[in-house]
């Protein structure tokens, strides 16, 4: 090779890399991770979500299209105003390209609105509301791990079909609880069951015995707990104490791995629920989870941690495939490529932004079935994604329906 051809080759190389970098805004891809770092949702997402994103970036090689990938994080304290202030700062002065994390649906709602205005993608890996892919959908939303519909469908449908027809709801008295109850009620009625009663317990109720007594005298087959976190734990504890668990089934409509782990197996053993991911499902999930646990001091991942990794990874792959970090092009690639990894089975990102993947119906193991403290669930059923999630045509997402 003579000198001239060497120079030509070198300049061609430089030109090609700078061309690739030119397609990455500000010369880097910056991922913002928002989360409740010290409050009630800190364990199901929090620092674990930041670590999961970092892990995806590390596994991806730290660079995409030759540009570095940077991760920053912030504590939204479950406050929508704080979340949107941080997001605005990230977008306007810190060149953040994509936001992941954020558990409280109210915070996520504020963020997605802002991100859509700025034509940037939100990876909704932690929030439960299905509004983000139905009536408040956006071409820049990608909702990953789960939603209230999948949780209710996965748990309620098989139980009604097996003959548990009469249901009683203990519902958290705010938007989230109401949504969960209404979604589950639809599933119960569609499968020939009936709702014989419901109580709306204020958020943060300490003593659920009144409600459990009412449920007991209602003659229901199943008590559905349409609440979360400590409310769920307290209502379940009370049900066991009053001997209800021997007479009726309890269905937890929103139970995370961390909640199940915190429950006494003598009380919670046998309870059925739905999750999007279980660390001990197969070789693939165990391999990833062990690496995660090594980074997190031994704490097992929730479905949200795994989903956060999966969505980040899929985003980075889409940036690479699209050859740019321009949001519309990336989103088109995300929706085009199948989502198949340790977390997502038979997964794909639907037009409305819903990542449809198989869900797991699990049962909390009793004490004598457990190997150790991390051995929590027995998987009973795999629910195909199309049965778990609300179908596209029933969601009412305008832009996705008009594309049909």
């Amino acid at each position: 090779m003579n000198l001239i051809s060497k120079i030509l080759l070198a300049s061609a190389l430089v030109a090609s890399t700078s061309a690739a970098q030119a397609n990455i805004s500000d010369g880097k891809v910056k991922i913002g991770v928002m989360g409740d770092m010290g409050g009630v949702y800190a364990e199901i997402c929090g620092r674990g979500c930041v670590e999961a994103v970092q892990m995806a970036v590390d596994d991806f090689g730290g660079k995409v299209l030759g540009s570095p990938i940077e991760v920053i994080s912030a504590d939204d304290q479950n406050k929508p105003d704080l979340g949107s202030t941080i997001a605005r700062k990230w977008i306007e002065t810190e060149q953040v390209d994509v936001i992941n994390g954020s558990v409280a649906s109210s915070v996520t709602g504020a963020i997605t609105k802002l991100m859509t205005e700025h034509e940037k993608i939100t990876l909704i890996s932690a929030s439960a509301s299905h509004a983000f892919t139905t009536k408040s959908c956006s071409p820049f939303n990608a909702q990953w791990t789960y939603d209230v519909v999948a949780m209710a469908n996965g748990t309620v449908k098989p139980m009604v079909q097996s003959g548990k027809k009469k249901w009683f709801f203990v519902t958290a008295d705010y938007a989230f609880g109401h949504a969960l109850e209404s979604v589950a009620t639809d599933v119960i009625q569609a499968n020939g069951g009936e709702v014989v009663g419901a109580v709306r317990a204020p958020l943060g109720t300490t003593d659920f015995s009144s409600y459990i007594l009412q449920a007991q005298s209602s003659g229901a087959d199943v008590i559905a707990l349409a609440n979360a976190g400590n409310d769920m734990v307290n209502s379940l504890k009370t049900a066991a104490e009053f001997g209800v668990t021997d007479m009726m089934d309890i269905a937890g409509l929103m139970v995370f791995t961390q909640n199940a782990q915190a429950l006494d197996p003598a009380i919670a053993g046998g309870m059925k629920l739905t999750i999007g991911f279980y660390w001990d499902m197969d070789e693939q999930t165990r391999e990833w989870s062990k690496r995660y646990m090594a980074r997190m001091g031994g704490a097992i991942p929730s479905m949200i941690h795994a989903g956060t990794y999966s969505s980040t990874m899929h985003y980075l792959k889409a940036v690479e495939a699209a050859g740019t970090d321009e949001s519309r092009a990336v989103m088109a690639k995300m929706k085009e490529m199948p989502v198949e990894d340790f977390f997502s089975r038979n997964g794909f990102l639907r037009k409305d932004g819903r990542m449809v993947h198989d869900m797991l119906q699990v049962r909390i193991k009793k004490a004598d079935e457990r190997r150790d403290g991390n051995d929590i669930f027995a998987i009973e059923n795999v629910i195909p994604g199309k049965d778990a999630y609300l179908p596209l045509d029933k969601g009412g997402c305008d832009f996705a329906l008009s594309q049909n």
Partner: protein, 295 residues
């Protein structure tokens, strides 16, 4: 089935009993608050955190030291009492002569720090604590199934409340205590060590909160924010009963448990507001509270 105006009487008696049980919890917590306020004039916002500390101590005892529930019932209140004494000596004492607001802010700060530390150490999901074997199971009453543990709570806390009331209102020690806060200089002149009495009283109030925490551990989620949830309600109860009235705190605690229980039956949505509604009504008609002395 016996019904009256479309109300199921059996169900209603169940709700009344449940209300009484919750009320005995409120009474125990309100008692500690009322003692500390009545005798020391400290608005103790860390009371909820001390209650949370009691529940966590019971859990830690069981998990790491193999101390069962019964040991916890004896040792934890003592431990929390000592912790309270340390708090009083090191932090509260130096600002005791300042306006009430200072001690309120200080104890509120202490509560936030404790809650934050426990969230950091143990997470926010709550920890499991089993009902002791001796108290598992329950009794089938004509109108409801009464778990043995709940029956134990109501009996035990009523004994503690009554004992405390007797100690403060009817014994010589109680008389010293009341006199020492009424007129400390005079009591000092009689050779009574007033600062010591003040410290011990704070320790005793803290111990009561710790005791309530141990009682709560088997039935409620042992979680860092358990104290802040209940504290506001208990404050309302102390206000309704009359700030500083010992007997008033106990009776109001029980009564408000019942009021809340009935609300949970008839209109659950209002169950966490009803006590504050009562508070507003009481303050409008009787500003010193139901059992308080008019200034």
């Amino acid at each position: 089935m016996a019904t009256l105006f479309d109300i199921n009487l059996f169900a209603l008696s169940g709700q009344l009993l449940i209300g009484l049980i919750n009320g005995s919890f409120y009474a125990l917590l309100a008692l500690g608050l009322a003692i500390i306020f009545g005798l020391l004039k400290i608005i103790n916002f860390s009371h909820g955190a001390l209650y949370m500390l009691g529940a966590f101590s019971a859990w830690i005892g069981l998990e790491y030291l193999q101390l069962n529930y019964w040991w916890a019932l004896v040792l934890v209140p003592l431990g929390i009492g000592v912790f309270g004494i340390l708090l009083e000596r090191t932090l509260i004492r130096p600002i005791a002569h300042e306006d009430h607001l200072y001690s309120l802010l200080l104890t509120f700060g202490i509560a936030l720090i404790l809650q934050g530390l426990f969230t950091h150490w143990f997470g926010s999901s709550g920890l499991p604590y089993a009902i002791p074997e001796e108290l598992q199971g329950g009794t089938r009453l004509p109108f409801m199934y009464l778990p043995n543990y709940r029956a134990w709570i109501i009996m035990f806390s009523l004994v503690v409340c009554a004992g405390t009331w007797y100690l403060i209102e009817k014994t010589k020690l109680g008389a010293y205590l009341r006199a020492g806060t009424e007129n400390p200089q005079l009591m000092q002149a009689f050779g009574i060590n007033v600062p010591l009495i003040v410290t011990l009283t704070y320790g005793f109030g803290a111990g009561l909160a710790g005791l309530a925490g141990v009682l709560a551990a088997p039935i409620y989620s042992v979680a860092p924010e358990m104290g802040s949830n209940i504290l506001i309600v208990v404050f309302a109860i102390v206000v309704i009963g009359g700030m500083g009235s010992i007997g008033g705190a106990i009776l109001t605690g029980l009564a408000m448990g019942v009021v809340e229980g009935l609300t949970k039956y008839f209109y659950p949505e209002a169950s966490n507001t009803v006590i504050f509604l009562v508070m507003v009504l009481v303050l409008l008609t009787k500003p010193a509270g139901l059992f308080g002395k008019e200034a």
